[in-house]
């Protein structure tokens, strides 16, 4: 079969998704799916930075915050500015992309651990800034009563269903763009940088520009997610964008399979499902039989930890890895191949 056809066949089950709200009238289910959609978008964006370009970003929630606060400040009573939701999707992804470049630029000379530490710092700075600029952001109270989006005169209001469709649409666009990127000149350049940055430069790749575009494009996805998520929640506050959000999204990639779009979607859906559905529902269940002292949601971080450790031990390439990633991790375990020694030489020469 033509590989392009085979690739697209994998996405056929997605065609059934628009029907879900028609058969399932439980608003909490749709609400869960819409929230999961926001996290899928985030994971698709982080995958560009970490999966494609190999730049470990531990502060990705910062861009989610920037997207959300953009909407909150430009589409609410806060300043009396009311930019339409649909315009804000574009605008916020642009704003997030600009911040992606601004925050990415200082990290360009850094690699591995050092890059991760600096991005971690940015992830802390951004929500802290929104917290402390209280005259603009209401500090810890956040901004509420955001404009409800409307389409053809129909206001979204508090029903989750329209947001479900918005998320679905954004994910479809996001998947198309991300897979286009992966199979392009830029995608190859990212892969080459991930494999051997020095050799990549000798191929005529401007590694600075390539890395910055990875940061910018990755951030733009979380700008989209931020706007849609903020509008749906009708509220933004600094505590929604703490470090644990960055870790959660990164865990989604690790679970699903970094660098592989279907894997990333499965991983982020699975963690969202556990987080927002399985744990609360099973807590309700045990409460209903009288065991009210049990609350499974208290154990969610322990569960993430267990999942991550188990994945690293038994399936480090993720549930649905890319061919490349699987080969890298599997063969690296059995045979050092192109080795740590060469890696050191390269780090020396790149300096």
């Amino acid at each position: 079969m033509n590989p392009a056809v085979r690739r697209s066949l994998r996405f056929v089950p997605l065609l059934l998704l628009p029907l879900v709200p028609l058969v399932d009238h439980n608003n909490s289910h749709i609400d869960f799916l819409a929230n999961a959609g926001a996290f899928i978008l985030l994971a698709l964006g982080l995958n560009i930075v970490v999966g494609f370009a190999g730049l470990l970003d531990l502060g990705y929630a910062a861009f989610f915050a920037i997207g959300s606060y953009s909407y909150a400040m430009l589409a609410s009573q806060q300043f009396g500015i009311h930019v339409p939701f649909w315009v804000m999707l574009f605008a916020a992804s642009g704003i997030a992309a600009i911040f992606g470049i601004l925050l990415g630029a200082p990290t360009l000379r850094l690699r591995g651990d050092y890059l991760a530490i600096v991005t971690l710092g940015f992830g802390e700075i951004v929500p802290q800034t929104f917290l402390n600029l209280s005259q603009y952001t209401n500090g810890p109270n956040g901004i509420s009563s955001l404009d409800s989006p409307s389409l053809f005169g129909h206001r979204f209001g508090f029903s989750a269903t329209p947001y479900f469709y918005v998320m679905l649409g954004l994910i479809v666009i996001g998947v198309l763009l991300a897979s286009n990127l992966q199979n392009s000149r830029l995608g190859r350049a990212w892969m080459a940088i991930r494999e051997d940055e020095l050799a990549a430069r000798h191929m005529g790749i401007n590694t600075t520009a390539a890395k910055l575009s990875a940061f910018a494009l990755g951030a733009s996805f979380s700008g989209l997610a931020g706007v849609a998520y903020a509008a749906k929640l009708d509220l933004v506050s600094p505590d929604q964008f703490q470090f644990n959000v960055s870790v959660l999204v990164l865990s989604m990639l690790v679970l699903g399979g970094m660098g592989n779009i279907p894997g990333v979607i499965v991983g982020s859906f699975a963690l969202s499902f556990i987080n927002s559905f399985l744990l609360p529902q099973s807590t309700n269940l045990v409460h209903s039989i009288g065991l009210t002292w049990i609350d499974f949601t208290d154990y969610r971080f322990m569960l993430y930890g267990v999942i991550l450790v188990a994945m690293m031990l038994f399936r480090p390439e993720g549930l649905i890895p890319s061919r490349q990633r699987r080969a890298e991790l599997r063969e690296a375990l059995t045979d050092p191949g192109i080795s740590a020694q060469e890696q050191t030489e390269y780090e020396g020469a790149a300096r």
Partner: protein, 256 residues
């Protein structure tokens, strides 16, 4: 005006003089070699040319234009490609993708083209894929297009590195010990390949320890020792140069 020229190039690392006052020129369309004992500074010269290091002083010019201050990717775009002493392929990319990556600088696809896969972008991808296949065929790897670079045999990896370097469409190709680790038969194949590359109009500058290959291929040889040029000329002249023999074997009166 020479095609390619180093003028009084000097490179120091702290107090260590790695390359000292090195000058030589390369004529277009020739095959030239640089030899010297280990640690003589040969690879440093390549790193200076490709912009990995910048010279402490001196000038490097290609076709009368200076390469000084250019980043490595810009040097590549100017027309200088290289292979590495320790093979540095993109190990977990297919042979074809490795070569296609080499075409990066000739491609025009913008960020927007890459995002949207415009007709222009798709046409360019097809052209580049075709060109990459031709280059694989040129180096004799047409059967390995879909294999990961790391799964190729050592000799094939060396050839793939050359194909990837040729993909950048160089005027000057720098080969850093291309015959290292090859058996005699592979070496003969390599000699033929390097001649075919020159016949395509690419000037070849190689670092090599294998004297058979150097004497067979090169029109001129530069000898480096302790970062300084100690001899230059035809292979025959260099082979009989006293200072060269001394550098490799030690002083005649010191021995025996």
């Amino acid at each position: 005006m020479s095609f390619f020229k180093l003028t009084n190039v000097r490179k120091t690392f702290g107090g260590l003089v790695a390359v000292n006052d090195l000058s030589f020129a390369i004529e277009a369309g020739s095959i030239v070699a640089m030899i010297g004992p280990n640690g003589a500074g040969k690879s440093t010269v390549f790193n200076l040319i490709t912009g990995i290091y910048s010279p402490s002083s001196g000038a490097i010019d290609l076709e009368g234009r200076t390469l000084r201050g250019l980043s490595t990717d810009r040097v590549t775009a100017r027309g200088i490609a290289r292979t590495f002493q320790n093979i540095r392929l993109f190990a977990f990319m297919s042979a074809l993708d490795n070569v296609m990556t080499g075409c990066h600088a000739q491609m025009r696809a913008s960020l927007l083209d890459s995002l949207l896969h415009t007709p222009r972008q798709r046409a360019e991808e097809r052209t580049v894929r075709e060109r990459a296949r031709e280059l694989l065929k040129f180096v004799g790897l047409e059967g390995d297009a879909d294999n990961y670079a790391r799964n190729l045999s050592y000799g094939h990896q060396r050839r793939l590195e050359i194909a990837r370097a040729l993909a950048t469409d160089p005027k000057l190709l720098l080969l850093d010990e291309p015959a290292a680790g090859m058996n005699p038969r592979e070496k003969e194949g390599l000699i033929a390949l390097i001649r075919r590359i020159r016949d395509k109009g690419v000037t070849v500058f190689l670092i090599e320890h294998d004297m058979h290959l150097v004497m067979n291929l090169s029109e001129r040889v530069t000898v480096l020792d302790h970062g300084e040029k100690i001899a230059e000329g035809t292979p025959e002249a260099v082979r009989n140069d006293e200072r060269v023999i001394e550098a490799y074997l030690g002083r005649a009166d010191g021995a025996a």
